[in-house]
């Protein structure tokens, strides 16, 4: 069966916090899933298949938690899937769930991604339990240094992104970090964590979950008719490359470029800067915003940081990025990718509340993982043919 259209008709997420000690693992995922079902005006029994995604199980110390969580998500008697592609997993989870519908195989699919990292410790898990863990920040710091050099970007660019995303987070009721007095001075005065990246330029460690309900053309059209605007998937893609080999460029990875090219081609996008209204990109450390703008062909080489400097990526700017506050404001690692994908969907559905980009019709979302080697992206819109092909 040829690729079938797929609509997002329900989105839910938890209030992301350092510690969601008010809930069990089941309670955390159900909070997000129930919100998504409510949004879709469905109940558990309406779902045909469940796709669960999360990052390393070592974070919570539960192996293959989908076995325990399956009936927590109403999946007894149904197909359950568990995706794991490192940091990009949230995105991949959404894409795999969408394929369940696009293949014509299932009609209504629930995707849930989560991380309850307060039960463990992310630095511990990333370092496989040994001392002197460099963490994700330490691993990416040299890449960011290289970007700063090769583009000549001024040192404030990273901090500017950090300020923008935290200000956006103040408009997002679910976001983790609420730093009312965030400012450039405050960011640049914060302790250096992974030189050249400072504490306030880095993502928090969050407990959180995100859930999305996908359905087919019929379901999407029914929702639209009932006044509940769906988000249509215009394209999705994943790319992976090896983590290290002589000659690899981890700063502007080939995988990032190829993934974007694929997804734009599917969606009929030839000029991303003009045709896309806003983006949710996986930015766990400030400098990744200009890096991904360039890495995904939205800006030419060396122009990404200028977009930041000009304010283009603010909510009211030319190309808003991370209107939700992004990963810099909430980072339940396994869920963060699906949060990006969900927020893009909320934008084109006109449901992003205070952080809504006015008139957003087409949005992209991206997640990346491991040594900047796993990429997942999608393009969503509020119609199946926004460019009038």
């Amino acid at each position: 069966m040829a690729h079938q259209p797929c609509a997002i008709v329900g989105v839910g997420q938890t209030h992301h916090k350092t510690r969601r000690w008010d809930v069990s693992l089941g309670g955390l995922v159900r909070e997000a899933a129930q919100r998504a079902l409510d949004d879709a005006e469905m109940t558990w029994k309406d779902i045909d298949a469940v796709v669960i995604g999360k990052a390393p199980d070592l974070f919570e110390g539960v192996m293959k938690p989908e076995l325990y969580l399956s009936d927590a998500l109403g999946a007894a008697g149904k197909p359950v899937f568990r995706v794991h592609t490192a940091g990009s997993v949230g995105g991949t989870t959404g894409i795999v769930a969408a394929h369940h519908v696009e293949s014509g195989r299932h009609k209504r699919v629930l995707a849930v991604a989560y991380q309850k990292q307060s039960e463990g410790n992310a630095q511990f898990a990333l370092g496989s339990g040994r001392g002197f863990s460099i963490g994700a920040g330490g691993a990416f710091a040299p890449f960011m240094r290289s970007y700063m050099y090769r583009t000549g970007a001024p040192a404030e660019i990273g901090p500017m992104v950090a300020v923008k995303d935290r200000k956006n987070a103040l408009k997002n009721p679910y976001a983790h970090l609420k730093i009312e007095d965030i400012s450039l001075e405050k960011v640049m005065a914060s302790p250096m964590m992974w030189d050249p990246v400072r504490f306030l330029e880095s993502c928090p460690s969050s407990d959180g979950a995100c859930a999305v309900v996908f359905t087919d053309k019929e379901g999407g059209e029914a929702a639209a008719k009932a006044g509940r605007q769906p988000a249509w998937i215009l394209g999705s893609a994943v790319r992976s490359e090896p983590s290290q080999f002589p000659g690899r460029d981890p700063v502007a990875p080939q995988g990032a470029a190829d993934c974007a090219a694929d997804v734009y081609q599917q969606a009929g996008i030839t000029n991303p800067l003009e045709q896309i209204d806003c983006a949710e990109l996986y930015v766990p450390f400030s400098w990744y915003e200009p890096m991904w703008l360039e890495g995904h062909h939205i800006a030419e080489f060396g122009e990404g940081w200028k977009m930041v400097e000009r304010g283009d990526t603010e909510i009211g700017g030319r190309f808003p990025v991370n209107m939700s506050g992004g990963v810099l404001s909430s980072n339940p690692i396994g869920a963060s990718g699906l949060l990006r994908f969900s927020e893009a969907a909320l934008q084109v559905r006109g449901m992003a509340g205070e952080h809504q980009v006015e008139g957003a019709n087409v949005a992209i979302a991206q997640a990346y993982g491991a040594s900047a080697q796993y990429f997942s992206m999608w393009v969503v819109a509020n119609s199946l043919d926004p460019f009038g092909k």
């Binding site: 069966m1 040829a2 690729h3 079938q4 069990s24 693992l25 390393p56 199980d57 070592l58 919570e60 110390g61 539960v62 192996m63 293959k64 938690p65 989908e66 076995l67 325990y68 399956s70 009936d71 999946a75 007894a76 008697g77 149904k78 197909p79 359950v80 899937f81 568990r82 995706v83 794991h84 592609t85 490192a86 991949t92 795999v96 394929h99 369940h100 696009e102 293949s103 014509g104 195989r105 898990a125 990333l126 496989s128 893609a237 994943v238 790319r239 992976s240 490359e241 090896p242 983590s243 080999f245 080939q254 995988g255 190829d258 993934c259 694929d262 491991a370 040594s371 080697q373 990429f375």
Partner: protein
């Protein structure tokens, strides 16, 4: 209307109790051999999907190392499940339905030797009520086995007969780790390790890998003289808590088999993933297989149990029966979790659907 998908090549790395070789090297060898068998190069492959488990290897990103073994350059469209490679195959099959990709590579791998199974596997359970009891997989299986005996639907002799048959079948399987001719009465004289289970009722602990190449429609017909066509594939899961369900039946297996088309006709061969001997009896009943069906000609999971690849191997073996042993309709079953909680069934045939 489904896009017809077939297995056009497969390869295993022979399972061993304890390999020195790195997991990704085993993956490399399995992938290369499978692609050679299928007659494809990496340029032909439109999607790659794998199954493996971090906790088995003791690392946070074990699957990343496995990716390194498949020549992912230029970058590839690829995904990974923290499940048996059989589910990676399901994901690939689902993608192939969209008609944009015509060749997919699937692999599953795992080394069970570095960790202590009894310590690692309790982590796969309810973290509040079960893991803290250190409920090891053999104990849980033994509870299930006793329940089956108490139901009157099987005897310990039946268990031993499953073992004898599987191990005898494994003699002809070059990838088997455990094989041999065993006398049922002698098996029954062995001590229990976990009453009512004896050592031979348990799966071997294995390191291994398996790779399968899928292709669609005309491409499959082009690549293979006798493709093994997937005529149906489905999976379901049961409630998690062992105390909440009847452990002597497997409703998710029954449902998966029905959805995969078991009702459309008899199967000649069934490769059932029964890591514990008695589970084969539960699965036979759940799927509805009578004595005319040849079960586990490969020796099944009792012959080799490289966790995260054992299930994919069942599919490869069932496909092998079509491609190289002239069978018209075969079945592969795969289980995930510890007590047949999650089950996948696929039916393969010699006729292009």
């Amino acid at each position: 209307m489904n896009v017809p998908v077939a297995v056009v090549g497969a390869a295993h790395v022979k399972s061993e109790r304890r390999t020195v070789e790195a997991e990704n090297r085993m993956v490399l060898r399995a992938v290369r051999a499978a692609m050679q068998a299928a007659g494809v190069t990496k340029d032909d492959v439109g999607f790659t999907c794998s199954g493996s488990g971090d906790y088995l290897a003791g690392g946070t990103f074990a699957f990343v190392a496995n990716l390194e073994a498949v020549g992912a350059w230029p970058p590839i469209a690829e995904s990974h499940v923290e499940m048996d490679g059989a589910w990676a195959l399901y994901e690939a099959w689902t993608l192939l339905q969209e008609g944009e990709v015509d060749v997919a590579l699937v692999y599953g791998s795992g080394k069970s030797s570095p960790g202590d199974i009894a310590t690692v596997y309790p982590l796969m359970l309810d973290p509040y009520f079960l893991t803290p009891l250190g409920l090891d997989p053999v104990s849980l299986a033994a509870l299930q086995a006793r329940a089956l005996l108490e139901s009157g639907r099987a005897t310990e002799r039946d268990f031993a007969e499953v073992v004898a048959r599987n191990r005898a079948n494994a003699i002809g399987n070059p990838n088997a780790q455990v094989s041999g001719k065993f006398d049922v009465d002698e098996l029954l004289r062995a001590d229990y390790v976990r009453d009512p289970l004896r050592r031979h009722d348990l799966p071997p602990i294995s390191d291994g890998a398996c790779a399968v190449v899928l292709a669609t429609a005309d491409k499959a017909a082009q690549l293979a003289e006798r493709p093994a066509w997937i005529t149906g594939i489905a999976h379901r899961i049961d409630v998690h808590q062992p105390g909440f369900r009847d452990l002597t039946v497997s409703p998710s297996t029954t449902a998966a088999a029905e959805a995969a088309g078991i009702g459309d006709g008899p199967v000649e061969v069934a490769e059932l993933m029964a890591p514990f001997s008695f589970q084969e009896l539960i699965l036979r009943d759940a799927i509805g297989l009578d004595d005319s069906v040849d079960i586990n000609p490969s020796g099944g999971a009792l012959a080799a149990n490289p966790i995260m690849a054992t299930g994919l191997i069942r599919i490869a073996e069932a496909a092998n029966q079509v491609t190289h042993h002239g069978k018209a309709r075969t079945l592969a079953h795969v289980t995930g979790g510890l007590d047949l909680q999650q089950n996948l069934v696929t039916i393969l045939g010699s006729e292009r659907p």
